[in-house]
């Protein structure tokens, strides 16, 4: 249920810019991350990884390693035979490979030893006999009919047998939509894979309290303590009530710590086996193999437009290179088709998507999960359409914007939408009209928009339970403690929680204690993914706080003889609104409430409204609200070298309401940064299926020297279902920046690079093509043949007036 909050106006701490409650612990080195944990008798765990891309395991001999003094435990796949995976439909992973390895870096064995040197020596002494199989290194390889099956439990013949998931959907009469068009356009795009590169290498510590109590504790740098808890119970065959998962503050996630991982499971198993604590910390190279990053996606966009620039039809086709395992892939494939429709009024829409397995580190969710690739394609495509129609790219967008409070053609419920305002702001602030098409050769501006979820509308495993719950306890000294399983991954969830509670109770964020992300101590939150925490945990916290406030107000009312409805809480006092002199300070109010309404413990919960569309795949895309962003990039592109220097970025984001302005602006600028890295140079490159650049130096990411000035503008649409009106900001602002860069390059030098990253060599090549009178473009020329099958035809939604039903 949506939680309504009041007062929405005149907040005391919501909307402020207080330093985050964890800021000073982080700046003094006090924050304890997973690798900072040291327990007595702790062993060092290490993973042996496959040196082959695709191979059968014929045998593993651990006898020499076992004999090494200081080695306390060794595991191979046979010790952990139960399959798992983050999604119920993709239970295709083993903690350690059984029978075959699927990529270079796939874990094969694990050791726990007295120190790192001994553990490494033990890995060298493990003998594994492999029989290499032909590797599948690309989407094109995966479409070949004669290469060995990667998932040997699956059966299939010919083209399509490496398919992990496919979906084909048609909304409305797409052929009719194209028939109504005056112009039809088609483009191909490719988005290369890239990775999160969190500064913190994944780490996990496990400790086992022996039987008869038999309790396992796992500390991990995970974004999803709840899903890790479930996975450990399944794979270790331990009752969930014997397992405690504590997510430590995550030193960078971006989606990369959202799957259960081998090192977490092996730490737990080795702790139960040895009776000693075991810690695994991945090396930087291993972090590249753990991956779960951005899918490489090949895309085809077709649209129909009338002469005046009105969209009549859109058809989107995607092929995702999934890497070696399922991970979030079944959702990822649908995400490549889900959110094109929440920015524009798309009257008829067809989506065809397929994800194939390849022998590469597994892909998964990275900031924007499955939506940055199609957003790049769509926004570049629209830039080309605008050029062809002779319409300004901004005006083309404005002509086709979705209306607030309407259903998209694929049944997504759009409520607040500040996209028009966002566009108008960046248009005016950047001086777009004086710049676009008018700057000297080599200099250009580019524009694009985007939208993202405020939390996935459905949990990862089907259930009807709440998605987030928060408890509040008030002690007799007036101390308030908030309990939530939400884990702060740097996005500021800790501060968000204490801020909304402080607002409701009339306190300051620093007055509130927080216990977070501990499955023994805190009630459920599904995790820090899909930009769900502010909306879901925030709403649960507001509800718990309001219930606590009700208890305190009732007691104060009885004590002072002031009606409850006249009471207010602010600045550490409960008082009569009409006569603020009548009241008492918070500790005194708590004293009264402790007598009249004990116990001072309350709870709140949040569950999304029922939003899923009436079709298979309709669970991907629904969200209780959508954030919106518009961005303009100005850059210089050297036509000699192809080097692009981004000089300034204007970005406006519909946040609903900023709970903390500094945190929100930090998420916007951080998203711009990550987008620029992806747009210009971040990529995973492979040579014959081996990752070429598994190091920070070779995987180039932007430094201080490449990062331009960013001008951030926040648009507050006051979402009626968000906590204090808030929506998401962690992911959405990344989306428009990548295509805005590509469009600015076109404006600067008149060539299209329809492929990310836009490295200098591609720009130069496109300029050479242009000079030779060829198509001034670099990008994919065809998609492999694949039968997506007959589409599931879905009737358009009944456009009853959402505005009448829902708008405030």
């Amino acid at each position: 249920m949506a939680v309504t909050t009041e007062p929405k106006q005149g907040t005391a701490v919501v909307g402020g810019s207080d330093p985050k409650i964890d800021a000073h612990a982080k700046a003094t080195g006090q924050t304890v991350y997973a690798d900072d944990i040291h327990l007595p008798r702790m062993l060092v765990g290490r993973l042996l990884r496959s040196p082959h891309r695709h191979a059968k395991i014929l045998g593993i001999d651990v006898s020499r390693a076992s004999a090494l003094p200081g080695v306390h435990g060794i595991l191979t796949g046979a010790d952990l035979p139960i399959r798992y995976g983050i999604m119920p439909v993709a239970q295709d992973e083993h903690a350690l490979a059984i029978e075959k390895v699927r990529f270079h870096g796939d874990p094969v064995a694990a050791v726990a030893a007295i120190d790192e040197e001994t553990a490494d020596e033990a890995l060298r002494l493990i003998e594994v006999e492999y029989e290499e199989l032909a590797p599948i290194s690309s989407i094109a390889d995966a479409m070949k009919p004669d290469l060995p099956l990667i998932d040997s439990d699956r059966h299939g013949e010919g083209v399509g047998r490496q398919v992990n998931r496919k979906g084909t959907l048609e909304f409305g009469d797409v052929d009719g939509g194209f028939a109504r068009a005056d112009h039809t356009y088609e483009d191909l795009f490719f988005f290369e894979g890239n990775t999160h590169l969190p500064m913190e290498e994944h780490a996990a510590v496990a400790q086992w309290e022996p039987e008869p109590r038999g309790r396992l504790t796992v500390w991990s740098s995970t974004q999803v303590p709840h899903y890790l808890h479930r996975t450990l119970a399944k794979v270790l065959e331990l009752a969930p009530n014997r397992i405690r998962v504590i997510a430590t503050p995550v030193g960078g996630g971006f989606g990369g710590k959202s799957d259960p991982f081998s090192h977490e499971i092996c730490a737990a198993r080795l702790a139960t086996l040895t009776g000693r604590p075991v810690k695994f910390t991945l090396t930087r190279e291993e972090v590249f193999y753990a991956h779960r990053g951005r899918h490489p996606v090949l895309m085809r966009v077709r649209t129909g437009f009338t002469e005046d620039g009105t969209l009549t039809a859109m058809a989107f086709r995607t092929m995702l290179d999934g890497g070696a395992y399922g991970s979030y892939g079944p959702a990822s494939v649908y995400y490549t088709g889900a959110l094109q429709t929440v920015t524009y009024d798309v009257p008829t829409y067809k989506f065809e998507g397929v994800r194939v397995l390849t022998n590469k580190p597994p892909c998964g969710p990275k900031r924007g999960h499955g939506t940055p690739q199609p957003r790049f394609a769509l926004e570049c495509h629209l830039d080309k359409v605008a050029t062809d129609l002779g319409i300004d790219p901004i005006d083309l967008r404005l002509r086709n914007l979705i209306e607030p409070y309407s259903y998209s053609i694929n049944h997504l419920r759009v409520t607040t939408c500040g996209l028009r305002e966002c566009i108008e702001i960046v248009d005016a602030e950047s001086g777009w009209r004086e710049k676009h098409g008018k700057l000297p050769y080599g200099r250009g501006v580019g524009f694009a928009v985007g939208s993202y979820l405020c939390g996935a509308g459905l949990p990862i495993y089907f259930n009807d339970m709440s998605q987030s719950e928060v408890q509040i306890k008030v002690d007799r000294g007036g101390g308030v403690t908030v309990y939530s399983m939400a884990i702060d991954i740097g996005q500021g969830s800790d501060h968000m929680l204490v801020t909304v509670v402080a607002e409701v109770l009339g306190l300051r964020p620093n007055d509130i204690a927080l216990v977070a992300a501990d499955t023994d101590l805190t009630p459920i939150d599904l995790g820090s993914y899909s930009s769900r925490v502010t909306f879901m945990a925030g709403n649960a916290a507001v509800q718990a706080a309001e219930r606590m406030r009700d208890k305190v107000f009732a007691a104060v009312s009885a004590d002072l003889g002031v009606p409850v409805e006249k009471l207010a809480a602010r600045d550490g006092r409960i008082f009569d609104r009409d006569d603020p002199n009548i009241g008492m300070d918070w500790p005194a109010a708590v004293g009264v409430a402790s007598v009249l309404h004990p116990p001072l413990v309350t709870a709140g919960s949040y569950k999304t409204p029922k939003l899923a569309g009436p079709y298979k795949g309709g669970g991907v895309g629904p969200s209780p609200a959508y954030s919106y962003t518009a961005s303009i990039v100005e850059l210089e592109c050297d036509p000699e070298t192809g080097v692009v220097d981004v000089e300034r970025v204007w970005i406006a984001h519909d946040i609903g309401k900023a709970i903390n302005r500094v945190s929100v602006e930090g998420q916007v600028v951080g998203s711009v940064y990550m987008a620029l890295g992806e747009a210009l140079f971040e990529e995973q490159t492979f040579r014959r299926g081996y990752l070429k650049n598994p190091s920070i130096l070779e995987y180039r990411s932007p430094t201080f020297l490449e990062m331009p000035e960013v001008e951030t503008f926040l648009v507050e649409t006051d979402d009626p279902e968000g906590p204090f009106g808030a929506k998401e900001v962690g992911q959405g602002p990344l989306l428009p920046v990548i295509p805005a860069v590509a469009n600015a390059i076109y404006d600067a030098v008149g060539v299209r690079v329809d492929e990310v990253p836009i490295s200098p060599d591609k720009v130069v090549k496109a300029l050479q093509e242009k000079a030779q009178g060829k198509e001034p473009r670099v990008g994919p020329k065809a998609m492999p043949e694949f039968d997506y099958g007959e589409p599931v035809k879905v009737d358009p939604p009944d456009q009853l007036s959402l505005r009448e039903v829902l708008a405030p």
Partner: protein
Amino acid sequence: MAVKSTSRQLVALNINGDAYELAVVPSHTLLEVLREDAGLTGTKHGCEQGECGLCTVLIDGRPQFSCLTLAIEAEGAEIRTVEGLATNGELHPLQQAWGETGASQCGYCTPGMLMSAQALLERNPSPNRTEIREALAGNLCRCTGYQAIIEAVELAAERMRSAA
């Protein structure tokens, strides 16, 4: 064949003004010794190859990658880590400014970034934006987009100048 990983030698280190006498593995880096032997886990690691800047500490006032420095090389030097920035329980102006501008998100790059910033301000109390960017370019951050960090260094520099 057991590895002689535990043959240790005594080393005297001056860390944040405190004298430590530690039995360390000679092949261990200052990073490892700080975190594992001295218990100073404030200093982080992100690559152990001198590529990310997370492990930056000050050695005789110069920012150095502690992952590329052997602990035994640092004997006799004045080593400063993030734990030594605050004095008498009061935040250093950089730490204060860090919170105000939102220069830490996940916070994992923060300790190393702070030490590089401190080294900069010690040699140049009034850096311009270009000088800040150049001085910190060896420290990576994946969260902030660097803007809040630059603002924090400017804010702290201004306050330190007016307090001086």
